[in-house]
């Protein structure tokens, strides 16, 4: 079973789209039905978004609703917050997750906390999109995932789709959500013409109004021997490995978390209860992040679920190196995932 065959992807009215086109479709649908939705960011207008997240939107909705900003992330993310507070539904793009360092205060101390600090009286229905991830030698400041950082800080949902259909459905849900949602797209799943991509980055996407609930993990491949919990591009690597290992009689379950916040702990527990073996694959940094949280979820529930030590495949707490050979040595790619799965099922 692959990601394209999951029950959440109805086939009748769908056609193949890249992830970036699926995202644009969701945004366009919402902009059509809700005049309070607008899109703001660097190079999101005529350029169509550096990673294709807004292609064609300017032509369709005009420059009052698809707006190029100065390179002033603090100012324009704050602008989104203020507009959301006054009832609009901004989608604001931070070009790379790596740039969070120049504007994190607006994100985590304002966007994420105003609702709480106001005792629920003020809502911030805003989507903050951003590209993430490496694999194409963009160096230590343009290749980070950092979703663990956002997920650690309370008050914002953190959504990270892996497939075109999920990308559309989760974007729809994010825009409609009354809470701030950080929506991260890994460049490697976007189906960009200028980047190596997994074949699944161009896949079936339902037409029309299509929403995927935020907070429900997805069993993209069911299996009985070992659970691989992962997210985004790593879902595809895990699926590739699972297909390869099926030939060796190893039956891998792949769980796509889809969001870190909310984290679908029930799905993690259910899968590990079945398989008794856990491998977490995360392109973010290893320590103090998603992989630890997933493993801890088991150990604080019932450590005896684990028949073998949990395995973590992540970036080993090193900045992302530029040189291809070094970068691919630290990314959680097929070889390392396969080795971890084999260790998990041994003995």
């Amino acid at each position: 079973m692959t990601i394209t065959e999951t029950p959440t992807t109805p086939t009748p009215h769908s056609r193949r789209l890249t992830t970036s086109k699926a995202i644009v479709e969701a945004i366009a649908f919402e902009m059509d039905r809700d005049p309070s939705v607008f899109y703001l960011g660097e190079d999101v207008g005529s350029y169509g978004g550096i990673f294709g997240s807004t292609g064609g939107l300017l032509d369709r909705f005009g420059k009052d609703r698809v707006i190029d900003t100065p390179i002033s992330e603090t100012a324009f993310i704050g602008l989104g917050i203020g507009a959301a507070v006054e009832g609009m539904r901004p989608i604001v793009e931070l070009m790379f997750a790596d740039f969070m360092g120049v504007c994190l205060d607006q994100i985590y101390n304002h966007m994420a906390k105003i609702h709480f600090e106001s005792g629920g009286n003020v809502k911030v229905p805003m989507v903050l999109t951003m590209g993430a991830g490496g694999g194409y030698s963009d160096g230590a400041q343009h290749s980070q995932c950092l979703w663990g950082t956002f997920a650690h800080l309370p008050g914002m949902k953190v959504v990270v789709p892996s497939s075109p259909a999920d990308a559309k459905g989760l974007m729809t849900a994010a825009i409609r959500d009354d809470s701030p949602v950080v929506y991260m797209f890994h460049k490697g799943v976007m189906g960009l013409p200028w980047m190596a991509k997994n074949p699944r980055s161009n896949d079936d996407v339902p037409e029309g109004d299509y929403e995927t609930p935020i907070g429900k993990a997805n069993v993209v491949r069911s299996g009985n021997d070992v659970t691989v919990v992962t997210i985004s591009l790593s879902v595809h690597h895990a699926l590739d490995v699972a297909e390869r290992l099926a030939g060796d009689g190893i039956d891998v379950e792949v769980l796509d978390l889809r969001s870190l916040v909310p984290l679908d702990r029930e799905a993690i527990l259910a899968s590990v209860a079945k398989t008794g073996r856990l491998v977490v694959v995360d392109e973010d940094y290893l320590s103090f992040g998603m992989s630890g949280e997933v493993v801890a979820t088991i150990a604080e529930h019932d450590p005896t679920l684990l028949k073998r030590p949990a395995e973590r495949v992540a970036v080993p707490d090193v900045p992302i190196p530029y040189a291809h050979a070094l970068e691919y040595a630290v990314l959680p790619r097929h070889d390392r995932i396969e080795a971890a799965v084999r260790r998990a099922v041994a003995g």
Binding site: G78, L79, I81, G82, A83, M88, H115, F116, S118, P125
Partner: protein, 344 residues
């Protein structure tokens, strides 16, 4: 090769205020300042009532940091006189005078400061995090980071086809923060209806303006964004009123933002408990208190007499004590609800 000259400095504008000003307006400015001061004196009293023995910041009915705005009332009074509650104000860690002047409900604000369920934020926010959707008022404890959200409120007001505006406030210390620059540039470039206010009280905690700021007046920085900049000296409420009238009118007319810096006075410590050992101008400060000074001027102009002063003061006292009583009677939040309101 050509070398382009720098932009022309902003033309100083006619200040407004003075004897030409409608007596009702002058009385209103005075009244706002008195209410703000009366309110803060009561907060001061309540804050210190039960911090002892010694001074434990976390103790008492009002725990935590407390930044009072006494001395800075002219800024809030002069600016907010031009606003309705449909306009937005984003204030700082020192927010009370703007909240009072903008008409935030005193009871719910006080209950918030007391950390009660009846507070603006059900006790979750506290004195640096007052959010009032009714008056579009908010504040932030992070220096200068209240500016950017004001852009968005102004943007929304404009998109909604109204002439409502946003006022964004910071201190002079905060004007050296990146968010200040980004906000002014973006608001200017997009002609957003924002009035940027800088309260220059000469100090950023213990650091004097002269040590932190490379220009004598932040109003000069308006040139860097091609917008009008005005500095009001002397903590003059009518001067602020005049400058704000121009800036607000410009914003409402869709002509874009302005920057107003007011040279004001931090009458008390940076926060309560601040011994101000660093402060050289301290002894002199009370003599610059803007309220008695304005009171004297209005008496001289025949706008105020003993009776009116008494009426205004006692009305302020009543509203204040009513708010404090409301706060004290409001229930303490239930610990079981501590994790509520994280998501909408």
């Amino acid at each position: 090769m050509t070398t382009q000259a720098a932009a022309q400095p902003t033309t100083p504008q006619q200040a407004g205020g003075g004897p030409d000003l409608d007596p009702a307006v002058r009385l209103g400015l005075y009244e706002t300042m008195v209410l703000s001061r009366t309110y803060e004196e009561a907060i001061l009293r309540e804050y210190h009532a039960d911090k002892g023995p010694g001074f434990d910041i976390g103790k008492g009915l009002i725990p935590g940091e407390m930044h009072l705005s006494a001395g800075q009332e002219p800024v809030a009074a002069g600016v907010c006189a031009h606003l309705t509650t449909g306009d937005a104000v984003t204030a700082t860690h020192r927010p009370h005078h703007f909240a009072v002047a903008h008409g935030v409900d005193l009871r719910r604000m006080t209950a918030e400061i007391f950390g009660r369920e009846g507070g603006l934020g059900r006790g979750r926010g506290g004195h640096m995090h007052l959010f009032d959707p009714d008056t579009h008022f908010s504040c932030s404890g992070i220096i200068a980071e209240g500016y950017p959200p004001a852009l968005g409120q102004a943007f929304a007001f404009h998109r909604q086809g109204t002439d409502r505006i946003a006022v964004a406030v910071t201190g002079e210390g905060a004007a050296n923060q990146g968010a200040f620059h980004e906000s002014l540039n973006l608001a200017a470039r997009w002609s957003l209806p924002v009035v940027f206010v800088v309260e220059d009280n000469d100090w950023g905690i213990s650091v004097p303006r002269t040590a932190s700021t490379s220009v004598a007046s932040n109003a000069d920085r308006a040139v860097a964004y091609g917008i009008p900049g005005e500095r009001i000296e002397g903590n003059d409420v009518e001067g602020v009123y005049g400058a704000a009238r121009r800036a607000v009118a410009r914003a409402r007319a869709g002509e874009g933002p302005s920057l107003i810096e007011v040279h004001t006075l931090r009458l008390w410590g940076h926060f309560e408990g601040d011994a101000q050992g660093y402060r050289l101008d301290l002894e002199d400060a009370p003599s610059h208190d803007p309220i008695p000074r304005y009171e004297a001027a209005l008496r001289e102009a025949g706008v105020l007499d003993d009776e009116t002063v008494t009426r205004i003061r006692s009305a302020a006292g009543e509203r204040t004590e009513d708010a404090i009583a409301f706060a004290k009677n409001s229930p303490v939040p239930d610990p079981a609800s501590a994790t509520s309101y994280v998501f909408a």
